[in-house]
């Protein structure tokens, strides 16, 4: 495989925006409840697989937010991040859930800003790790020269941007383009599980993936792998609001989601990608991601 080609853009119409989003049922409150009034707050969730299932699972969250914010909530499921970014840009969604790299792109494209970061395993950051097989004899990044490497995909924070930076920081490569020469082959496996299984199955010598990928493996499979390096901390996924959203609504949403960190509604978090909780975030939280994205040509 050759990866040294110019990364010219593909003329593929990402027909997403609102047309690519799936709307949830009319979120009108039932009789007897205090009706939320005003313009609905439109929240776009990323559905990794089944949009209907996702919308069903976030329904209790929407109900909670309606009561907490006092506005009707309309939920959408986008099947890819482009849909959310486009919807925020077009003003057809007010709120979106996304990863750090998507956020910095969305910010540049539309001025969207993050209001909350997710906490997972007690931390608002996570790591990318470079995994090899224990029986490969590889113990250092330098030993990966002329070896094959799997990343997750070209727009992944923990599965490309940060592990690449780990190699750059170690002085083994100077740039993204350099990586093409350093490794014998670079593959984009198309997913975290595919990438880590590619190492396990000996399809590649190493993989750069998020730290939790190993949890997709059985314990005896995990034992066969070794992390030889880890990235600097990556700020976690975030809740992003579109440019121009009423600051009062933004604050109310932020407060309502932060209130889930404890108390009677804490259980709703399992419907929100099973995070532990939220922490206040802003554009500065993602400054390093933006800087890396710029350095690698993902941002102007």
């Amino acid at each position: 495989m050759k990866h040294s080609k110019t990364l010219s853009r593909i003329a593929i119409a990402l027909v997403v925006a609102l047309g690519g989003l799936m709307a949830c049922g009319d979120p009108t409150p039932g009789d007897g409840e205090q009706a939320a009034t005003g313009e609905p707050l439109r929240i776009a969730f990323i559905a990794y697989q089944n949009p209907d299932q996702l919308l069903e699972s976030v329904e209790p969250v929407a109900e909670y937010l309606e009561t907490a914010i006092g506005r009707p909530i309309k939920t959408f499921a986008a099947t890819d991040y482009a849909g959310i970014v486009e919807a925020l840009k077009a003003g057809t969604a007010d709120v979106g859930f996304m990863g750090p790299l998507q956020y910095v792109i969305a910010h540049q494209q539309s001025g969207a800003v993050p209001i909350l970061g997710e906490i997972y395993d007690g931390s608002p950051t996570y790591l990318s790790k470079i995994f090899v097989r224990k029986d490969s004899g590889i113990e250092t990044l330098a030993q990966l020269e002329e070896k094959s490497m799997a990343f997750v995909d070209p727009l992944s924070s923990s599965g490309y941007l940060f592990p690449l930076e780990t190699f750059i920081e170690s002085g083994l490569i100077a740039s993204r383009q350099d990586a093409e020469k350093f490794f014998r082959k670079i593959y984009f496996a198309g997913g975290d599980e595919q990438a880590i299984r590619a190492v396990l199955n000996k399809f590649v010598d190493a993989a750069g993936v998020g730290q939790y990928s190993v949890r997709l493996l059985r314990p005896e499979e995990r034992e066969q792998l070794l992390a030889i390096a880890e990235s600097r901390p990556i700020p976690s996924h975030c809740v992003v609001v579109r440019s121009g959203l009423d600051p009062e609504v933004t604050t109310a949403l932020q407060t309502a989601l932060l209130a889930l960190n404890e108390g009677e509604h804490h259980g709703l978090l399992k419907n929100l990608y099973a995070v532990d909780g939220y922490i206040v975030a802003d554009d500065d939280t993602y400054a390093e991601v933006a800087s890396l994205a710029r350095k690698n040509g993902f941002l102007k």
Partner: protein, 652 residues
């Protein structure tokens, strides 16, 4: 938990799917407790329905008897998946299912007995070869379509991703039979993902498809499919999948090689929260480290090394089915279980040599109070717990003949299993005033003789004064006999103590609730109980079957597991003195395996190296033992103990 599955920016379908699977897995395993506490509970690998059903069919066709109805259901599942793009293939699979059921029925009828081995194998071969060819063609179709549509990323990636997911159907067979090919072809698929191109996000990060590479790599896959799964099927040259079918009749398969997998849909995870185990001597304040025989039994109960293949590689232990000496209502293996919480223990997978050729799954019994509940086995076939245990090891799970000391130890351990305390019960089994009124009304019914039960009462067999059993076998009509007047229907009377926590009920787990049990007896014996009487009788069973703190209140189990491994190691000196080298080896191997299985539950990842060192010390002790270097073995054991003690507090 695959949290990182979300930390990517890709709009690619393959990525989306993998992340979806990850997140779904997360949602599956997260119910109400901290994920870190259950990190060792591994979510099932998520596969495309075609791969799921294909892999299951492959497993089922190797069983004896083959569950043809299940095979037919999986054929229908594959057909439904193929319908939209390969209607002819889907029709063929449905036809295959119908024909197979008809053939099986006809063959069984003509032989007036079970389906003969040679015919069974012929039919199985036919089913697997036609299914294989159809799935292989579906993969080829999707790859060809993706190749033809590379300019349209959305279409190409959809077809490619489905092909890749269906390919997972064949992966275990290829990996087992042709490991080098498995790696080569795996690389082809990886190369294709990159060659598909990438639309990026709002144009950023976009890559053009690499048509030449995609053609080349997909060509390799298609060539392999043609050669191994399409053209060769039905001929004498068996592809890797067909080669995995059971040997020809006359060739006994008495052991599986290591590395067997359970079929998709299995669940052998332990329960969370864990059942509360009460060991008699611990309740009396005895330290398990001072009861070496019991500690050895505790270790063996948790050890897959006392079994043979395939249980050993699959980490199946006594504790898998009898979590903490109780039951495991989640346990399920397609083809071996009818419903969760049970298994056919005389099957052709775990103990082919001792298979009885009949699909007769049993509900996993609760082992609490085991010393009071002889005879053993649902039909009371073993008077001795020792003989029963030996049969489990040697015949049900293909283990080596156990050392006498191992059997003594397992028995000593299991004899310590106490019933849950039940404050509503007097020593003679009567209810006291702590029992609800409904239960006390139910008690009167329980003791009332019924004419339709030959003047006997429920209490005649479930004698309250003797742990609610009579140690006899009775035919109450739950077993279908081999022939009309055969006398093979009797089952051992089970105790009622603890039954609130051991659903489902009856020897085969056919009834889900105690209320259904009451209804069953009411109908079976025409007892003519009123609705309120049946409720009272159910309340009685619920009360008798209740107990204090049936489950542990914490989901954090690592500290207690590590303490248990310290118990496991406590018989070391005794075993050395007795010259029980095999048992020492089993102890080391079991501790090392268990630490590695549970180390993912550690709450502070900074402590992982300690756990690795503990497991490593057991590995080294085992190696030294094998080399006859007993002084090093001693040293490793002492280092392990010292390391554990200095870290026990930290690992809490």
């Amino acid at each position: 938990m695959p949290r990182n599955a979300r930390h990517t920016a890709s709009p690619s379908r393959s990525d989306r799917t993998s992340r979806a699977l990850g997140v779904l897995a997360v949602l599956t395993i997260l119910v109400a407790s901290d994920p870190a506490a259950r990190a060792h509970i591994v979510p099932p690998q998520q596969l495309h329905p075609v791969a799921t059903s294909y892999r299951r069919i492959e497993f089922l066709l190797n069983l004896n008897p083959i569950p043809w109805d299940s095979v037919n259901l999986d054929l229908a599942t594959i057909a439904a998946q193929l319908e939209s793009f390969d209607a002819a293939g889907a029709d063929d699979l449905r036809k295959l299912g119908r024909e197979t059921l008809a053939r099986v029925a006809s063959a069984a009828k003509s032989e007036d007995t079970m389906l003969a081995a040679d015919k069974r194998r012929l039919i199985a071969h036919r089913v697997l070869s036609r299914t294989t060819r159809t799935v292989a063609r579906a993969i080829r179709f999707d790859l060809d379509t993706a190749r033809a549509n590379l300019a349209d990323y959305s279409s190409a990636s959809d077809h490619f991703e489905r092909a890749r997911q269906m390919w997972a159907a064949f992966e275990p067979a290829i990996e087992a039979a042709q490991p080098a090919e498995f790696v080569r072809l795996g690389e082809c698929w990886l190369a294709m993902v990159s060659a598909l191109g990438y639309p990026g996000l709002a144009g950023i990060g976009a890559r053009q498809p690499d048509t030449a590479t995609f053609h080349e790599e997909s060509g390799e896959i298609v060539e392999y499919l043609d050669a191994n799964f399409i053209d060769q099927v039905g001929t004498q040259t068996l592809g890797p999948t067909l080669a995995r079918l059971a040997p020809l009749p006359g060739v006994a398969r008495d052991a599986y090689p290591p590395g067997q997998r359970l079929p998709p849909g299995f669940n052998v995870n332990k329960q969370i929260p864990r059942p509360r185990q009460i060991l008699g001597m611990v309740t009396r304040g005895v330290d398990e480290r001072e009861t070496p025989l019991i500690a050895l039994g505790d270790m063996a109960f948790d050890s897959a090394l006392i079994f043979g293949e395939p249980a050993r590689s699959l980490a199946i232990t006594c504790n898998t089915c009898h979590n903490k000496g109780v039951t495991n209502p989640n346990f399920f293996i397609p083809g071996l279980s009818r419903i969760p919480g049970g298994m056919d223990v005389s099957n052709s997978f775990f103990g082919a040599h001792a298979n009885n050729g009949i699909f007769d799954p049993l509900d996993i019994p609760d082992l609490r109070g085991l010393r009071f509940t002889a005879p053993y086995g649902r039909n009371g076939r073993f008077d001795s717990l020792r003989e029963f245990t030996r049969n489990v090891i040697v015949n049900e799970f293909s283990g080596q003949e156990p050392e006498p000391m191992l059997l003594d130890a397992l028995v000593a351990y299991m004899l310590e299993f106490e019933f849950l305390p039940n404050p509503a019960l007097e020593p003679d089994g009567t209810l006291n005033d702590r029992a609800p009124a409904a239960a006390r009304r139910g008690e009167a019914l329980f003791n009332r003789p019924f004419a339709n039960m030959a003047g006997r009462s429920c209490a005649s067999c479930h004698d309250p004064s003797d742990h609610f059993l009579d140690r006899k076998r009775h035919d109450i009509g739950t077993v279908r006999g081999a022939e009309p007047d055969s006398r093979d229907r009797a089952l051992d009377t089970p105790t009622l103590l603890g039954i609130k926590y051991s659903a489902p009920y009856f020897h085969d787990g056919r009834l889900a609730t105690l209320a259904e049990v009451v209804d069953w007896f009411n109908d079976r014996y025409s007892l003519r109980l009123t609705g309120s009487q049946r409720m009272d009788l159910s309340a009685y069973l619920e009360t008798v079957g209740d107990g204090v703190e049936a489950y542990e209140d914490t989901v954090y189990t690592l500290a207690s597991e590590l303490e248990e491994f310290d118990f496991f190691l406590s018989p070391y000196e005794l075993l050395v003195e007795r010259g029980e080298t095999n048992l020492i080896d089993t102890t080391f191997g079991t501790i090392a395996f268990e630490i590695r299985a549970h180390k993912w539950d550690v709450q502070d990842p900074a402590n992982l190296p300690v756990l690795d060192r503990l497991a490593g010390l057991m590995d080294r002790a085992r190696a030294a033992l094998a080399a006859g270097d007993l002084s090093t073995t001693d040293r490793m054991v002492n280092e392990y103990r010292a390391l554990y003690r200095s870290n026990a507090g930290i690992l809490e």
